[in-house]
Chain length 252, copies 2
């Protein structure tokens, strides 16, 4: 009999998202959205083994005791994956609905924290951080089979965001900046990047970032949209960190 | 009086897309979509100066002779930007509507050619390469203010795509690959990358790629979706090439 993972090898990934995994009993009944996902999308069967994570470092192998009348699971093995080095993006508001795929792609590429930043020229819409973003981050977690989920912060003013970004490597995405030096990132240094909103940072905001130790870094010869610059930063970080091997955050 | 470029500095970029630019008379009347874009989005006024490109290396400064009753333009200055080194992505079909933003982001990041590849496990929908993709590529051209537009090829079988990819640096996006070496790309070598469709390449397809000189390259510690891997490749190339200065393809 093929396992659920094999059945889904050309389909949806079979990682379950169980935020309560760490506190769960060894055997438990799963209900709600995740039970629906397991039964209808992964199509688990009695006796299957599936992987699950809480998105906060815990990852487990579970046995499907029975699917009906309710999904009963037993934890066979669990382990903790070390927290990956901080990879945080402070991001101004992009245009329109572009925040959705920003969230999805940053999550897939292993960014640890997205801080939506309200700026003088652009504010995030009130529904930022809504249930849709949570769903996108969970779907990306499944896709990447990671043990750590992107943390979605509430929108804050730039000054407040900067109070939380006073250590590690700090990039300011800037077409006039220098070429990106990724060597320290490859070695697991914590890293943050600030990306301007669609209409750009004001001079005052830019100066505040420079004073806070953010170094202008050029990502491309062309001008990039806000969400494109943020995803390009995440891609550079992902490649730099994976150059040193799978590393923390990614189960074997 | 502020120029159109200044008025739109916090709004839509004011680069016009005029495919017939090279053959245009010095003074000409603009009609259709682009005239509407100039009048309604850029909001040009009599006497304004605007930039325009044909997306094939020609870039010009135009003076707005009059806006009404029809948009009359005069070419004040035109120059040719050298063709950038080839940066080509052979891409299997992603899930659902994800091809749309694939096109937009590859265009923004300066990829020169997108070759949609039909594979054993996934085919591009018939409407690939439709008018929407053309619009997305043009919008990205405006956004990036580039003189060269992403070329959108018709979907082809992998074997045919490989016949066009026998020179230059060749990457195969592969979680089991080696770290990306971007030094030759920074020096302007032509480069291609193959990215598998959502269900992955088959072993036979993978072997065909390896035999054709494609080298497995790891982009991230995590598994990436098709469109994310393609955009991550484009971001690595864009950063590598911009490290050597703005370079060809980008007007000063």
């Amino acid at each position: 009999m093929r396992s659920a993972a094999e059945r889904s090898s050309a389909g949806p990934p079979s990682l379950l998202y169980l935020p309560e995994l760490r506190a769960s009993a060894t055997r438990f009944t799963l209900a709600g959205d995740e039970a629906h996902y397991a039964a209808r999308v992964v199509r688990v069967r009695d006796g299957d083994r599936v992987r699950a994570t809480d998105g906060a470092g815990r990852i487990a192998t579970l046995r499907v005791e029975r699917v009906r009348p309710a999904l009963e699971l037993a934890i066979e093995h669990a382990e903790d994956v070390p927290r990956p080095a901080r990879a945080c993006i402070l991001c101004g508001a992009p245009e329109g609905e572009r925040g959705d795929w920003l969230v999805e792609k940053l999550a897939e590429l292993g960014v640890t924290e997205l801080v939506p930043v309200d700026t003088e020229r652009a504010r995030w819409p009130g529904r930022a951080r809504d249930a849709r973003w949570e769903r996108l981050a969970v779907a990306a977690l499944r896709q990447s089979r990671s043990a750590w989920r992107l943390e979605l912060c509430a929108p804050v003013q730039l000054a407040e965001a900067l109070r939380g970004a006073r250590t590690g490597i700090r990039w300011l995405a800037d077409p006039a900046g220098a070429a990106a030096d990724r060597s320290a990132i490859a070695q697991g240094e914590p890293v943050s990047a600030a990306v301007g909103p669609a209409p750009g940072f004001t001079d005052r905001e830019r100066n505040a970032l420079l004073e806070c130790g953010f170094v202008p870094v050029r990502l491309a010869a062309q001008r990039l949209r806000t969400e494109t610059a943020a995803v390009a930063v995440a891609a550079l970080w992902a490649a730099a960190r994976s150059a040193a091997g799978p590393g923390p955050g990614a189960p074997a």
